[in-house]
């Protein structure tokens, strides 16, 4: 390594100018040497960077002025004079106003930005996070960007990224660009090495108009780390993680399951009791008592079934161990900079019986070369590979919902036991362990090339090209497994998995070109810059899939060749789209005080019919740095104050298929023949409208940024209004049209939205202790102003779009507590008719929910919507993050809390949401056991228990009272690190050594009552547990 340093030093020396030799040292605020600082002789191109010790040597005249600068520090100028040794310590730049911010097709300083832009710095957010996926590390970091995940399964997180909430009922993720090239899909970002991220800019307002038809959902600009001029630096960062099971739903164990059935019968009239195949209360009592053994004298087909209290979550999930390693090598000289990095990560899910996880391998190589004074070349090569491996069966919510937890998965001989056909005889352990595997491989290779050439002073030509190729293959095997009874006899059941092997393959090619002209000019404080250019995108995909169905011998080999050829199904498919755009950006400012920015774009797309292909977009913004005005210069407490506003139009192409404007022939097949064989058939199923075009969204933003008390207190606030006109919806016609009456997508809806974001932070230093506190919060509200055809509220709990209400609105029955007496029930029956159970054994009784007749017409019905109550939407509101940081000598400390103050959750889908409402022939939730209405507990929080599904649904489903508020606060991240003293580490040639503890999701406060994780959204099927992560890591720089 030392020889390498020496070589690089020599290269640096060659670049030195003439004059006397000056040596020096640049120190940071702690008196430690600052490596990588730039030392330039003012007015020349000669200069150098400091070495690992912070030392430098260069040739300079006595009259020379050295400019010493380093990112994050205030630049320092010193005249050489007669000094031959110069030692200086740089002051941290607390204002960060000069920080360069990447904006749409350009860069600005933080001071002159006029758009609503958030910047996330890689070293602050991604360093030492025990999190392979960078999107998850963004949770709680910046206001206005909401990151939610639907699952904790590695590689299947089902991430939802949203900037400023809904821009449309057709929501796409934000446009994500890495080094100014759009990603192939959001997964490319999720799979990138977080250690490669230098910074992320989040464009929230109409500054995204320069991205035209893809700008409506916000834009995320990721900038990767480049090499820095100077010594070769090697960095290793790795961590080992232990994950433990976090919150899990309260699925009933056998005792609780028995109790549920008993209570569900006790609360029924004697004639209305039902013990299912168990036959009698006595048999159920055995379950409630924790009996283990065969059940006899029950329903004949079940007779002799062996029952036992099992904890299926415990059986399926437990601690898992993951790891992640990054290594990077970077360096450079006057003309060349490079950085090579690699990542290996093994993220293992919580599943115990079989491996369920994802291995990820990343390589990135960034190389920049200055060909001449006028010409710069840049390149970047990325390779991302992930291999996800999981059981192909048994890991869905059914595993926990279907069978009650009374069936041991294996008998004493280790054979899989049938659940006696109770719920279709499935054995989910058998499915997970032996039911086949799904192996997914995804490889992504991307090459970026760029050149900038200065034509005349101030005018540069920029050319970029990018090629992105993604290949994904999936091998899925499915194996049917024989099931046995407790005594080891074949139970006449199998796990009912249709056997076979599917091999599918997909490849995408994506090209992106750009050519731009940039012009910059400054005259007496008037700064002017402009950019014009064209950019083209072309995407092509091709895929195929082969399935061979039927029995094959399980030898541990799951290639397609193993499966029989008798029943083969194949599928192909190709697609393409293209986008061509003309764009421009003009920026002007006067002395950094009055700021203007104008962007425009014309998008032309292959997705529309001739005559509808092109549309223009534009945005304008302005800012005023009031603190630069002379009348405020005296206000010493005010360090910085800017107000800004922007307006612009963008488009949204979510929901627009590649060729939806064309009517096409759909091939199909039908069976005919005495020896049945498939014959080809075809139809023209789609109803089209060739006039369809992009949704058009305009956004107005007002914002302010300020810093007080010498930049110790900083904050920002933005308010925005957004309007989507021509929202794409499929208008519903009479079904006599065919296609279920669903028309083609047409621009037939309008949406209004507004919202705000606020951030406030304090950073300070007391003695040796540095600390910072910051908090951010945002909210977004919307209302559908027009949605042709959809204006009658419909009962639902999953969010519906109705004119006049927000996207994803809930309409529920208004309820008025529970009946307390039979008289109340009788009076109810004599007064009302409609949607509630008929009188009789399974009719309403005390303890049941009272639905309110809101329109007072005597009929309780969802029909015209008048009896339904609007209960808000399902979007998270007041999402927030709180970040705390502190440092003392070598110790650093960082905490992030993240949460939501107000969000509706209605958990209705599935069997583990409300007792006996999903299906009584399934497992049940025990979360409400003992809290339900009984005669002796008339003030209970929950209605009476009943086995009758219709009654249970009346009580629990679609009702106002069962709406939960998903308010929560979660300790997202806790990092404690210790950097070993340099004096110690340098003895072993280590420049920096830091060890750290990093934890994720360590605890939470949640208002959820049924035990589910607050991040699991409204689903009850999503059983895969969210995990708590504890990791130990080490960060070494050589």
């Amino acid at each position: 390594m030392k020889t390498l340093f020496a070589v690089l030093m020599l290269i640096s020396v060659n670049a030195f100018g003439q004059g006397q030799t000056i040596s020096g040292k640049v120190l940071d605020e702690n008196g430690e040497g600052l490596p990588g600082a730039t030392v330039v002789v003012k007015g020349t191109t000669s200069g150098t960077t400091t070495d690992i010790e912070g030392a430098f040597r260069l040739q300079a005249d006595e009259s020379s002025v050295l400019v010493i600068s380093f990112v994050g520090y205030e630049p320092y100028e010193v005249t050489v004079g007669n000094q031959s040794i110069i030692q200086t310590s740089l002051k941290p730049d607390v204002s960060s106003l000069d920080e360069v911010v990447v904006v749409g097709y350009g860069e600005q300083t933080k001071e002159t930005v006029t758009g609503a832009i958030e910047v996330v710095k890689g070293k602050e957010v991604f360093a030492s996070r025990a999190q392979t996926n960078p999107a998850l590390a963004l949770q709680g970091q910046t206001p206005g960007i909401t990151v939610t995940r639907g699952s904790a399964r590695p590689g299947q997180e089902d991430i939802d990224l949203q900037i400023r909430g809904f821009a449309s009922i057709n929501q796409d993720p934000p446009l994500i660009m890495i080094d100014n090239v759009p990603v192939l899909n959001a997964r490319e970002f999720y799979s990138m090495n977080p250690d490669d991220i230098e910074s992320i800019s989040v464009l929230k307002d109409a500054a995204t108009a320069i991205y035209g038809a893809r700008g409506a959902n916000g834009v995320i600009l990721v900038t990767t780390k480049k090499g820095t001029r100077g010594e070769l630096t090697v960095n290793y960062n790795g961590n080992f993680r232990m994950q433990s099971v976090g919150l899990t739903p309260h699925a009933a164990n056998m005792r609780e399951y028995g109790q549920l059935w008993l209570e569900a019968n006790e609360e029924m009239p004697e004639e209305g009791r039902n013990y299912w195949g168990f036959g009698t209360a006595e048999k159920i009592q055995l379950l409630a008592d924790g009996y283990e053994g065969p059940l006899t004298d029950i329903y004949f087909a079940w007779d002799g079934m062996y029952v036992k209290d099992v904890d299926r979550i415990e059986e399926f999930f437990g601690n898992s161990y993951s790891q992640q390693h990054n290594i990077s090598v970077s360096g450079g000289n006057e003309t060349t900079r490079y950085r090579i990095s690699g990542l290996f990560a093994d993220d293992v899910g919580a599943l115990k019986p079989a491996y369920d996880g994802q291995k990820q391998y990343n390589l990135r190589f960034n190389f920049d070369h200055q060909l001449s004074d006028r010409v710069n070349l840049s390149s970047g090569i990325t390779y991302q590979k992930r291999r996800r491996s999981s059981p192909s069966n048994g890991v869905d919510g059914r595993s926990f919902q279907q069978n009650p937890w009374i069936f041991p998965s294996k008998n004493d001989e280790g054979q899989y036991v049938a659940a006696f056909g109770v719920i279709g005889s499935e054995n989910f352990l058998a499915s997970v362990e032996s039911g086949g595997r799904e192996e997914l491989d995804e490889d992504l290779t991307k090459i970026n090339l760029g050149m900038t050439a200065e034509i005349v002073e101030g005018l540069t030509l920029e050319l970029t090209g990018s090629y992105n190729r993604r290949v994904q293959s999936t091998d899925e095997s499915n194996i049917d497994i024989a099931l046995y009874d407790w005594d080891g006899n074949f139970a006449n059941y199998t796990s009912q998995i249709p056997e076979g092997i599917t091999d599918s393959y997909e490849e995408n090619d994506y090209l992106n070109y750009g050519s731009y002209l940039n012009y910059q000019k400054s005259i007496q404080g008037h700064n002017f810059s402009a950019k014009v250019g064209v950019t083209g995108d072309y995407f092509r995909s091709e895929g195929n899939s082969i399935t061979r169905n039927g029995y094959f011998e399980d030898n541990g080999i799951y290639d397609i060749n193993i499966a029989p050829q008798t029943n083969v199904q194949t599928e192909g498919g190709q697609g393409q789209w293209g986008l061509y755009a003309y764009l421009s950006r003009i920026a002007y400012d006067y002395k950094g005080k009055y700021l203007f920015d104008l962007v425009g774009r014309r998008d032309v797309s292959s997705r529309f019919a001739e005559g509808y292909k092109a549309l223009n977009y534009a945005g304008v913004s302005a800012g005023w740095v009031i603190s630069e005005e002379s009348f405020l210069k005296g206000a010493s407490f005010l360090s910085f104050l800017k107000i800004k506003a922007s307006y612009g139009e963008t488009g949204n192409q979510a929901g627009i298929d590649q060729f939806s404007y064309l009517s096409t022939v759909a091939p199909s097949r039908q069976l005919f023949g005495a020896s049945p064989a498939l014959q080809s058939s075809a139809s023209i199923p789609n109803i089209i409208d060739p006039t369809v075009t992009w949704e058009r969204i305009n956004m107005t933003n007002f914002g302010t940024e300020f810093s007080l008390f010498d930049f110790k207190l900083s904050g920002s606030f933005d308010y925005y209004l957004r309007n989507n006109s021509g929202m794409l919806i499929a208008v519903e016609y009479g079904s006599i049209m065919g296609n279920d009456g669903i028309g083609p997508l047409t621009n037939s809806g309008d949406l209004d939205a507004h919202g705000w974001e606020a951030a406030l932070g304090w950073k300070d230093r007391v003695g040796d202790v540095t600390f910072s506190v910051s908090a951010n919060m945002s909210d977004s509200r919307n209302k559908i102003v027009r949605l042709d055809g959809a204006n009658i509220p419909v009962l639902n709990t999953e969010g519906i779009n109705i004119e006049g209400y927000p996207i994803g609105s809930l309409f529920l029955w208004e309820t008025d507590g529970f009946f307390q007496t039979q008289e109340e029930v009788d009076a109810y029956y004599s007064t009302y008719s409609g949607s509630f159970p008929n009188q009789g054994n399974t009719g309403l009784r005390p303890g049941d929910v009272i639905k309110v007749d809101r329109n007072e017409d005597g009929v309780i019905t969802s029909e015209n919507g008048e009896d339904l109550k609007f209960m808000g939407d399902l979007s998270p509101h007041y999402t927030y993050g709180v970040n705390l940081g502190a440092g003392w000598k070598g110790i650093d400390f960082q905490v992030t809390f993240q949460g939501v103050l107000d969000q509706n959750i209605y958990r209705q889908e599935g069997n583990l949401s409300a007792p006996f409402a999903g299906s009584r022939f399934a497992n049940q939730t025990a979360a409400f056991l003992g809290k339900t209405w009984t005669e002796s507990n008339p003030s209970a929080e929950y209605p009476r228990m009943t086995w009758n599904t219709a009654l249970a649904r009346h009580n629990w489903w679609d009702n106002e009272w069962f709406l939960q508020n998903n308010r929560y606060m979660r300790l997202k991240t806790l990092i404690v690190g210790y950097t070993l003293p340099k004096s110690l580490t340098q003895k072993v040639a280590i420049d920096k050594a830091r060890i750290y503890f990093s934890g994720n999701d360590l605890f939470e406060f949640t208002a959820i009552k049924d035990g589910y994780d607050p991040e699991s959204r409204g689903s009850s099927s999503n059983i895969y547990p969210f995990m708590r992560t504890y990791s130990l890591g080490i960060d070494l720089t050589f």
């Binding site: 498919g573 293209g578 060729f659 022939v665 069976l671 075809a682 519903e732 009456g741 028309g743």
Partner: protein, 567 residues
């Protein structure tokens, strides 16, 4: 610059063809006509199409209980018009076809058959519906979307003329590899079915369900030249006879060592599906059928559920004749109710073909909760269940019969009786006595009827109920006979308790688990006995209004069609 842009934005689909050139060759018409078979009923259809909840099965369903809620949408309404869109597209394209019309005639004939088939399915469910005979789209004028419901007579008019087109254009027969495709014989048989249905509906139900057409229902407007009931019946007889004589169909009847043909016919797959190794090519009985295959496309149904949903009840058990052709109230061969085994002795062998779980010389256990598994009768259904578990529950692949020769016999006999009020022995012998013979019961004759005071119409209807048990006929039949409101209002009974092995034996039968308890009724042999009540009178509220299903709310608000009377 522009050409550069075009390279990105002037793209064509890479994996599909556009409609511009479709319907230009006979091959295209064949492809399109093949697709229409997708709209046929099959195993995946709603339980109502397997007669779940009829008066003959043990487990009640809310529909026949008269507990019908007007729905937001109706899958059958939507699917019907989805399919009709394809049908109309083929017929419209044929009108514009410039080639030799005879080359596309069979496909056009098939399309006409399917237009009749789809409208008849809609008619049976809703009565008169809007008649759409062209392809409409979102760009069609508003008036098209406001098409009112045509009366049932107008719908029948279109169905009959479409079937005439099918009869004229479809080939008389198809080769083995095209089994399942519509022939002119199939269209004739189907037309006979439609005619009998509508003639008896008009005779027994009349206009009671029509509504006035201005505030409710589809009204009673009859097209010019609409056939009389008698003409429809006469036509049904002629068509049936034509199919019986010239169709080339035959009852599937083989000498099985165990059970009998009435069992194996309904799970006929490949040679493994029965002990004689017979496969689908031996089946000359099915006339209209949806073809399934274990490997290429199996039935989308958990067939295990048919075991309980189709379990018989007291009424159907008592309905089967003794081998002498007499009802159990009149036959000396009936062995009484002591055990269920006794009930099965000397009876119609379809009892054994359809049902199982009766222990030798004993009775099945009834001790299971009322809503499950054929409880209350103990017997389970096996018609449609794979022989000895040859196929897994959800992967059976026998063909689904929409119309088979046995029904043609039944149509023939019923139409004759309805038209003339009598039927000759010869006519009985060439029709329903053939299915009775397969079931091991002696023939019906006018002499037998006179001797034992049997009502021949009742006997024809009985044979229809039992031969076509759970084949999407019973609920429709009761309605067209105008008795569904009486029959579905009756309670449902299970096993006979009094004077049987169940009485007092708690290991076989626990009275406490039956919410409706027991009741003394007159059972099939004429005696008064206590039986288990499966569904009590308080649950039976089927009325004339329920003969037709409600029009879904969404369609009323979208197109202004009128709701059926009574909803």
């Amino acid at each position: 610059m522009m050409s550069c842009q075009d390279a990105f934005t002037d793209l064509e689909p890479l994996d599909e063809i556009t409609d511009a050139t479709f319907y230009s060759t006979p091959a295209h018409f064949e492809l399109a006509s093949n697709h229409l078979y997708d709209g046929m009923l099959g195993w995946g259809a709603d339980g109502e199409f397997r007669d779940y909840g009829s008066d003959l099965v043990s487990i009640p369903q809310i529909y026949t209980q008269g507990n019908v809620v007007v729905p937001e949408t109706d899958a059958l309404w939507n699917e019907g018009y989805d399919d009709l869109r394809d049908v109309n597209m083929l017929i419209e394209s044929a009108a514009e076809y410039t080639g030799d019309a005879s080359e596309i005639a069979p496909y056009v004939g098939t399309a006409h058959f399917f237009r009749a088939y789809e409208y008849f399915t809609l008619l049976q469910r809703f009565g008169g519906v809007p008649l759409i005979t062209t392809v409409i789209s979102s760009a069609s004028p508003d008036e098209v979307f406001e098409t009112p419901r045509s009366s049932r007579y107008e719908v029948i008019g279109l169905i009959l003329s479409d079937l005439d087109e099918a009869i004229a254009n479809c080939p008389p027969s198809v080769g083995e590899s095209d089994l399942g495709k519509i022939t002119s014989m199939a269209a004739k048989a189907y037309k006979a079915k439609v005619l009998l249905y509508e003639a008896t509906w008009e005779k027994y139900v009349g206009t009671d369900t029509d509504g006035d057409g201005s505030t409710t229902g589809a009204g009673s407007s009859k097209p010019a030249n609409y056939p009389t009931v008698e003409a429809m019946l006469a036509d049904a007889i002629d068509l049936s006879k034509d199919v019986m004589v010239n169709g080339g169909y035959e009852l599937w009847n083989h000498d099985f060592p165990e059970i009998n043909s009435n069992f194996f016919l309904h799970q006929l797959e490949d040679g493994g599906s029965n002990p004689l190794g017979l496969d689908k090519s031996t089946n000359k009985e099915f006339i209209i059928q949806k073809v399934y295959d274990y490997n290429l496309g199996f039935g989308d149904l958990n067939f295990a559920t048919t075991e309980s949903r189709m379990a018989p009840n007291r009424k159907s058990m008592d309905m089967f004749l003794c081998t002498d052709g007499l009802p159990i109230s009149k036959s000396p061969r009936f062995q009484g109710y002591n055990t269920m085994w006794d009930e099965l002795q000397n009876r119609d062998n379809r009892m054994v073909a359809y049902f199982y779980n009766v222990p030798e010389n004993g009775s099945p256990v009834l001790n299971v909760g009322p809503s499950d598994s054929g409880a209350g009768i103990g017997i389970r259904n096996r018609k449609f269940r794979s022989w000895n578990g040859y196929r897994p529950n959800e992967r059976q692949a026998q063909n689904y019969s929409i119309l088979r020769l046995a029904e043609v016999y039944l149509t023939y006999a019923e139409a004759i009786y309805e038209l003339r009020g009598s039927i000759t022995d010869a006519e009985l012998d060439e029709s329903i006595n053939l299915t009775r013979a397969r079931a091991g019961i002696d023939p019906l004759s006018n002499n037998l009827a006179t001797t034992y005071d049997l009502n021949i119409l009742e006997e024809i209807r009985r044979e229809r109920a039992l031969e076509l048990y759970c084949e999407n006929t019973r609920i429709h039949d009761l309605k067209r006979w105008g008795i569904a409101d009486e029959v579905f209002a009756e309670e449902i009974y299970g096993a006979v308790i009094e004077g049987t092995v169940y009485d007092g034996d708690e290991s076989l039968y626990l009275p406490s688990i039956y919410p409706f308890g027991e009741k003394t009724i007159t059972v099939g042999n004429g005696e008064s006995r206590r039986v288990v009540v499966r569904d009590g009178a308080s649950n039976r509220r089927f009325t004339m209004a329920h003969y037709l299903a409600p029009i879904p709310i969404s369609q009323i608000s979208l197109t202004g069609v009128l709701q059926n009377p009574g909803y």
